[in-house]
C-alpha cells in the first residue's frame, strides 16, 4: 500500500473518483489533492526536508490552468535532489495526443504515462512500480 499519494488535477470529479478508487482498492494510506501544479509545488517546497510528509507517488495531470503538468515537472526536477526520498511521478491525462506521450518518454523523472480513465489495472501498475521501489 502506498503511504502517501498526491493527486494534482484541476478536475474536481477526477480528484474525487481517483480518491474513491484508491480507497476501494486499499491502495493508499493517505491521498491529498491539489488543483494545480503551483499549489502542489508551494507545499512541496515547505516539506522538502520532511520525508514523512513527502509524497511517495504523484498523479500529475498535464492540462491544468495556472501551472500545468509540464511546468510542475520542470520545477520538480530542480528540487528533486533535495528530497529525502524517491518520489514516483505518473502523468495522468485525458489527452490522446501522441506528442504528449513522446514528450513524457523523454523525461526521465516521469515514472509512467496514464491515459484516463483510471481503472484497477492502471492502479495495479502504479502499485507494482511502487512496491518494486520499496524492495530495492
Amino acid at each position: 500500500m502506498i503511504k502517501n499519494i498526491w493527486i494534482i488535477d484541476d478536475d474536481e470529479i477526477f480528484q474525487f473518483t481517483a480518491q474513491k478508487y484508491l480507497e476501494l482498492k486499499k491502495a493508499a494510506d493517505k491521498a491529498t489533492s491539489f488543483t494545480n501544479g503551483h499549489e502542489a509545488m508551494n507545499h512541496l517546497q515547505q516539506i522538502v526536508h520532511d520525508p514523512d510528509d513527502l509524497p511517495d507517488v504523484i498523479l500529475l495531470d498535464i492540462n491544468m490552468p495556472v501551472f500545468d503538468g509540464w511546468q510542475f515537472i520542470k520545477e520538480f526536477s530542480r528540487v528533486q535532489e533535495a528530497l529525502k526520498k524517491k518520489v514516483l511521478v505518473f502523468l495522468t491525462t485525458s489527452s490522446i495526443d501522441q506528442a504528449d506521450f513522446e514528450k513524457a518518454r523523454e523525461i526521465s523523472i516521469i515514472a509512467g504515462y496514464i491515459v484516463k480513465p483510471l481503472n484497477e489495472e492502471k492502479i495495479n501498475d502504479i502499485l507494482s512500480q511502487y512496491n518494486g521501489l520499496q524492495t530495492v
Binding site: 477526477f14 473518483t17 481517483a18 492540462n63 485525458s94 489527452s95 484516463k116 480513465p117
Partner: protein, 251 residues
C-alpha cells in the same frame, strides 16, 4: 480535413516535381504549400484541444459508472449519479464550445488565406500583364467564404501562365456549389492527365511539346484541401479549346 503524413509526403513530392519542371512557379508553389500547412496546423490544434476537453468528462463518467457499479451504499450511488450528471453538463458545454471555436478558427483560416493569396494573385497578375491574357470577369466578391475564390484564382491563373494567352469567364458563387469557370484557349492544354501535343504548334509545323498533366492533379490537391471537387469538360472546335470546370462541395 487534417492532412496525414502520407498525404503530406505526396503533396511535397508533387510540388517538388512541379518546381523542377517549372522554376518560374517556385514562389507561388512555396507560398501555396505554406498556406496548406498553416491550415493543417490550425485543424490539428482544434483536434488536439478537443481530444482533451471532450474526453475529460467522458473518462470521468466512465470512472463514476464503475464506482456506481461497485457501490452497495444508496447515499454513495446518489452522489455518483449527481457527479455523472455534472459531467454530462460539462460534455454538453464542450460540444457547444467546439462548435463555436470551429467557426472562429475557420474564419481565421479564411482571412489568412485571403491575405496570402492576394499577394500571390498580384504576383501572377504582374507576370500576365506582359502577355496577351485577358481576364474577362474576375471577382467572387465574397469575403466570408474566401477559399473558393482564392483557390479558384490560383488554379485558373496557373492555366493562363502555362498558355500565355487565352481568356477566362467566371460564374462566381458564395460557395463551391454551382461555381463554374470557362477557360477558352486558342491552344490546347490537356487538364485530364495525359500528355498531348500542342495542336497549334503542330499545325504550324513546329515540334510538338507535351503539355502538363500534373496541373490537373495539383489543382485537385488544392480543391480537396479546400473541401471541393471539380468536374472538367473539354471541347475542341476550329482550333479553339474550351474547358468548362464545374465546382461542387466535396462530401
Amino acid at each position: 480535413m487534417v492532412v496525414s503524413e502520407k498525404v503530406h509526403t505526396t503533396i511535397n513530392y508533387t510540388l517538388h516535381q512541379l518546381i523542377q519542371q517549372n522554376p518560374q512557379l517556385t514562389g507561388f508553389v512555396i507560398e501555396a504549400f505554406e498556406l496548406l500547412m498553416y491550415q493543417n496546423e490550425e485543424l490539428k490544434k482544434i483536434a488536439s484541444k478537443y481530444s482533451h476537453d471532450l474526453r475529460s468528462p467522458v473518462t470521468n463518467i466512465n470512472m463514476l459508472l464503475q464506482l456506481y457499479d461497485k457501490s452497495e451504499n444508496d447515499a454513495d450511488k446518489r452522489l455518483y449519479v449527481n457527479k455523472i450528471s455534472n459531467s454530462l453538463d460539462r460534455l454538453q458545454d464542450g460540444f457547444e464550445q467546439l462548435s463555436h471555436d470551429r467557426k472562429v478558427s475557420l474564419k481565421r483560416i479564411s482571412e489568412q488565406t485571403l491575405v496570402q493569396f492576394d499577394k500571390v494573385f498580384d504576383d501572377i497578375k504582374t507576370q500576365l500583364s506582359q502577355g496577351d491574357s485577358i481576364i474577362t470577369e474576375f471577382d467572387a466578391g465574397n469575403d466570408v467564404w474566401a477559399q473558393p475564390r482564392y483557390f479558384y484564382n490560383a488554379f485558373t491563373l496557373l492555366c493562363m501562365i502555362i498558355s500565355g494567352e487565352g481568356s477566362i469567364a467566371v460564374q462566381t458563387k458564395k460557395a463551391w456549389e454551382g461555381m463554374q469557370c470557362t477557360i477558352t484557349y486558342p491552344t490546347f492544354i490537356n487538364l485530364n492527365g495525359e500528355a498531348k501535343t500542342d495542336d497549334r504548334d503542330t499545325q504550324s509545323g513546329t515540334t510538338a511539346a507535351t503539355t502538363n498533366g500534373w496541373l490537373y492533379y495539383f489543382a485537385q490537391l488544392f480543391l480537396g484541401a479546400a473541401g471541393a471537387t471539380s468536374h472538367i469538360e473539354e471541347n475542341e472546335s476550329e482550333g479553339e479549346s474550351k474547358i468548362v470546370i464545374s465546382f461542387s462541395q466535396a462530401n
